[in-house]
């Protein structure tokens, strides 16, 4: 088949954007209330965590660039739920929620944002570069598209050893225009590698719309150039994302081949904490707000009688405590020692490696 792009889940081919979520997604009927409440709690945790992050950033407790998952909570939780513990995850730089969703304690994520030695990358990575061997988060990456070839390589290693892990590789909509995207999809398809590429389409790459940057703005169709099945899903619906992602992850595992998933999501704030998003019209901003996935899921669970007032309060309180605890932990954690500055240049020690500080002479004995 030359064109294997098949819209699945709630997303049909519609050419008008933002139509995907108007259609009915999975119902709550087949779901266990406990599971649904857990999804809700995870989404709320990411929401509050990111709000606290923004606050700490404006208080200059966090430095560098800082991109938040606000508006992306349903997508994050849906995707992470679809992965098995043994599966690997690569992300771009908008990753705090993914780190938490992959099972890393919020304390260690916040400590990384604060640049402390208790952080998930020991304070060496910051917001954009979180990594955890045990949780199998193989990195957030700050260069657009940089994580794709790496994810393909990780899947190559899995395939080389005959393993049954799947690699998920998350990216933004803008990434589908860079060369590494196309090289990676091609290689993954040629070599039958178990990797699920996930495009988070929040309609905007920084301030440039998808229509203005992508000649084929229905991004899931881009897999068809590589005979790779592409699927679009409503990223505002945690159940739809979970179902679509789990289907592709398990098919990647069973069939040993790559897939492309596009999740239609919203970015509630600017590109990063410091971006006031003035390029967005009032209507667009209002639309993002109206598509708040946490509020929508909360309303849905309430309507179904699953989320009672009492439970809502209980969850809100426990999430609030968890986020406060994470911030306290970060605040009270030590900064990395300057004496560790040269600890991570090389894994295999090597003679003549430089450990010269800025004002040191080149020859130590001078």
């Amino acid at each position: 088949m030359a064109d294997t792009a098949k819209p699945r889940g709630t997303g049909r081919t519609g050419t008008r954007r933002r139509t995907a979520r108007k259609e009915a997604g999975p119902t709550l009927n087949d779901e266990q209330p406990k599971v649904l409440l857990d999804y809700y709690r995870q989404m709320l945790l990411i929401r509050r965590f990111e709000e606290r992050t923004a606050q700490a950033y404006t208080q200059a407790r966090i430095g560098g660039y800082c991109h938040l998952n606000l508006g992306e909570e349903a997508t994050v939780v849906g995707l992470m739920t679809a992965l098995q513990e043994r599966d690997y995850l690569f992300t771009n730089y908008r990753e705090h929620g993914y780190a938490i969703g992959k099972g890393i304690h919020p304390r260690r994520v916040m400590a990384e944002l604060y640049g402390r030695s208790t952080g998930v990358s020991k304070g060496w990575g910051g917001s954009m570069h979180m990594f955890d061997t045990e949780a199998r988060l193989l990195g957030g990456y700050g260069i657009v598209g940089g994580q794709l070839p790496l994810a393909v390589g990780a899947a190559l290693a899995v395939s080389y050893r005959g393993g049954d892990e799947v690699v998920m590789c998350q990216m933004g909509d803008g990434t589908t225009n860079i060369g590494a995207f196309h090289e990676s999809l091609n290689i993954a398809a040629l070599w039958n590698l178990p990797v699920v590429f996930v495009v988070i389409n929040n309609y905007t790459g920084m301030g440039t719309t998808v229509e203005k940057s992508s000649a084929e703005p229905e991004l899931y169709k881009r897999g068809s150039s590589y005979r790779m099945e592409g699927v679009r899903v409503d990223g505002q619906d945690v159940l739809a994302v979970r179902d679509a992602a789990a289907d592709l992850v398990e098919r990647a595992r069973a069939e040993q081949k790559p897939f492309l998933l596009e999740a239609m999501s919203h970015r509630m704030k600017g590109h990063s904490v410091v971006d006031p998003a003035k390029y967005r019209s009032a209507e667009q901003a209002e639309e993002a707000k109206a598509n708040d996935p946490v509020a929508a899921f909360e309303a849905r669970l309430t309507e179904a009688g699953i989320l009672t007032d009492e439970l809502r309060q209980e969850i809100a309180d426990s999430v609030k405590d968890e986020v406060a605890d994470a911030a306290d932990f970060a605040e009270n954690s030590p900064h990395p020692e300057v004496s560790t500055l040269f600890d991570y240049t090389y894994a295999t020690p090597v003679p003549n490696e430089s450990s010269r500080m800025p004002a040191d002479p080149v020859f130590a004995e001078q």
């Binding site: 193989l138 070839p149 790496l150 590494a180 295999t348 003679p351």
Partner: protein
């Protein structure tokens, strides 16, 4: 001990390392069915199969990045880039990823991979195929950059590179592939990060690496016949750079000439000259001179290309000029 070519030394080492360690696999354009643009991987597809000798599409960024990702999970990929010029297409993966992943994530994962690639002008390949841009990689902490000049070094250093847990840029040279030399029968593993005094002398220190190390040795032999005693330092490792060995040699001879197959401005020679002035200032009898490529995009026409490249003759001239400048000895 047997006498083999630099090419054979590389091939034998790849083969023996693949037999030694199942995690070693080869990736690159035309390395399998075609057996390598320069035939380094000849016979290896037949011996090891497609799983371990993997022809890639023409997608340097993609397959270099894939090698990095595979290395993060513990494989030991050896990537062949057809020439170092094409590394520019993969430079984001090499510099922003291979070199950063160990440190950026607090030492949680290493990247045990080798990128083998030849540099070298002199083949009338024109401006885009005749560059020596190992400088770009030698500039980057997190990478190790090796530049062997003899078959024995090529074998020992490739073995070390494959067994090392860090990303290694392994610089070969088109002009060296057919050169021959003695290679020990036993497996020698080089120590990365060390230069070597390959010929002792008393009048002047002559420093080179890769093809230039071979040329400097010939120059030293010829000058010895004229009674000039040249000490030759082969850098072997461009990162880390073994400044001690260079400076100790200059302290003995009092003057230095650097030969590099590369442009002069901001080059590796500039770094060495700066190191010499800082480490051996009181011992210097003459300014440190550099013999380097003319600063032009390399032309195709043979007379222009020859004129632009450093040669035994140009190195000899600069040695004479340096020695006569201090009045110590005029050849």
């Amino acid at each position: 001990m047997s006498v083999i070519t630099y090419r054979q030394a590389l091939r034998d080492t790849l083969r023996s390392e693949m037999h030694r360690d199942e995690n070693v696999l080869l990736l690159g354009e035309e390395i399998g069915v075609f057996e390598g643009s320069y035939k380094i991987t000849e016979g290896l597809l037949k011996e090891f199969g497609e799983r371990r000798v993997r022809d890639t599409p023409i997608a340097e960024e993609g397959f270099v990045g894939a090698a990095i990702g595979a290395a993060m999970l513990g494989l030991r990929p050896v990537v062949e880039l057809m020439t170092i010029n094409f590394s520019l297409i993969a430079i984001d993966q090499i510099i922003n990823h291979a070199a950063k992943i160990y440190g950026m994530f607090g030492g949680q994962t290493s990247v045990p991979m080798v990128i083998r690639t030849p540099g070298g002008g002199g083949q009338q390949l024109g401006a885009t195929h005749s560059q020596n841009i190992e400088l770009f990689y030698s500039f980057i902490p997190g990478l190790k950059v090796l530049a062997p000049s003899t078959p024995a070094e090529a074998a020992a250093m490739l073995r070390a590179a494959i067994r090392d847990d860090d990303p290694v840029l392994f610089l070969e040279n088109l002009g060296l592939y057919n050169t021959k030399g003695e290679v020990p029968d036993e497996e020698v593993v080089a120590e990365i990060g060390r230069a070597a005094v390959t010929r002792e002398g008393t009048d002047i220190t002559l420093i080179g690496y890769s093809r230039m190390a071979a040329v400097t040795t010939r120059v030293a032999e010829r000058l010895a016949e004229q009674g000039i005693s040249v000490e030759v330092v082969d850098l072997r490792s461009l990162r880390p750079l073994d400044r001690e060995t260079i400076v100790e040699s200059v302290k003995r001879t009092g003057c230095a000439v650097i030969a590099e197959d590369d442009w002069l401005t901001y080059g590796i020679g500039a770094e060495i000259a700066a190191s010499i002035q800082e480490g051996a200032f009181d011992y210097l009898d003459a300014p440190v001179r550099r013999v380097a490529m003319a600063e032009v995009p390399m032309p195709y026409a043979k007379p222009l290309e020859t004129a632009a490249m450093p040669s035994a003759e140009s190195i000899t001239t600069v040695i004479h000029e340096t020695l006569s400048a201090v009045g110590r000895r005029v050849g």
